[in-house]
């Protein structure tokens, strides 16, 4: 029975490249989510007016 072969590991450069592209995607996703939050907030104000805050709590 042969031992399971170890998967070929990444070189230092490839690992850095991977980290960099992951960081880029994370930042892009954060920007999209932030923008979405702002859009929903602004839409609420636009569609319901500032009156949305005038209600009994």
């Amino acid at each position: 029975m042969t031992a399971p072969t170890e998967p070929e590991m990444l070189s230092k450069e490839d690992s850095d490249k991977l980290a960099k592209s992951r960081r880029g995607r994370s930042i892009a996703l954060a920007l999209v989510l932030g923008a979405l939050a702002i859009v929903f907030y602004a839409l609420t104000i636009v569609k319901m007016g500032p009156g949305v805050f005038n209600r009994p709590l």
């Binding site: 998967p7 070929e8 995607r25 839409l43």
Partner: protein, 310 residues
């Protein structure tokens, strides 16, 4: 060794993709035309719309169009790998895997439709959902590989955006918005067949039944001419419905004459000049649509301004 590190094999690296690969899935150049025609439909539609809601509506239509682009690339990865024009797309070049593109397209479809419904109205949202369905399923999965009329029917998907923009304002479909649809619908076949005439070896290699490969160059050129004339006539319909006046009429007539003229030149071109004339028509067709919709917006805008100050 931590479990996540198991993914760090050489094969996994290629498949994660950069931000730019995800943007490429949205077909940004197609998107720019969609944004422009959707904005035109929204601007000429009668009735008030809050500028912020208008901006969000156009964003939603753009993202919806991008989502159908991603779904198209998910499904068409096999033929994209064969054609030189599409070989460098993210999936055939190995920068993203198909599953990622599918999920990306589905998530964006749901978000764009839902946001359009919340911001504008659910009729427009339904129309956007239908547009995505039409492009991704009816065109990409079914007609593109099945019939040389693929472009004609698939072109309907590209003709919906101004109707969606219009519906975002009015909440319905009207004769005027159908006219805008008809103009882009008739524009698409001569636009794409001109491209296919000088790229036909590509499509033949991928096994896609484009008109020049199936019906021959002669028949394609005949059909381009017919569509060009129909388009030139249809472009005058906004005058008949009363949507526009002379500010639109003058450029529309001029643009129609040039379009038909180039189509006629292509129709009678000798074989050795055919590709050059086809490229000429293709390039002009982009300018044509841009200028025509610009004239439309300018006409309606000027009319509204004059009405306001009188």
């Amino acid at each position: 060794m931590a479990l996540v590190d198991d993914n760090l094999t050489a094969a996994g690296v290629a498949m994660e993709g950069e931000v730019s690969d995800y943007l490429a899935l949205l077909k940004p150049r197609v998107m720019s035309l969609v944004v422009f025609t959707a904005a035109a439909g929204l601007l000429v539609a009668p009735g008030p719309i809050h500028p912020f809601v208008a901006a969000i509506a156009i964003l939603c239509i753009a993202v919806g169009a991008g989502a159908s682009g991603a779904l198209n690339m998910w499904y068409d990865a096999d033929i994209d790998a064969i054609m030189s024009r599409t070989r460098n797309r993210p999936i055939p070049s190995g920068r993203l895997d198909r599953q990622t593109a599918l999920m990306f397209g589905l998530v964006l479809s749901v978000f764009s439709v839902a946001l359009l419904g919340l911001a504008a109205n659910w009729f427009a949202a339904g129309l956007l959902a239908f547009t995505i369905f039409f492009y991704a399923v009816i065109y990409t999965m079914w007609l593109k590989r099945a019939t040389p009329q693929n472009i004609v029917i698939g072109g309907a998907a590209g003709a919906f955006p101004p109707m969606v923009g219009w519906a975002a304002v009015t909440g319905n479909i009207s004769l005027d918005s159908v006219v805008l649809f008809l103009i882009i619908f008739l524009w698409t076949p001569p636009h794409f067949w001109a491209l296919a005439l000088y790229k036909q070896s590509d499509y033949a290699a991928a096994g896609i039944p484009m008109m020049p490969n199936v019906a021959g160059e002669r028949s394609t050129r005949n059909q381009i001419l017919v569509y060009a004339i129909l388009l030139s006539l249809a472009s005058l319909l906004p005058l008949a419905t009363g949507l526009t006046g002379w500010v639109y009429a003058v450029p529309a007539i001029g643009l129609g004459l040039v379009f038909s003229g180039l189509a006629f030149k292509l129709w009678r071109a000798p074989a050795e000049q055919m590709k050059r004339n086809a490229r000429e028509l293709f390039t002009f067709s982009l300018l044509y649509l841009f200028a025509l919709f610009l004239a439309l917006v300018a006409d309606v805008g000027i009319a509204r301004f004059l009405e306001m100050i009188s």
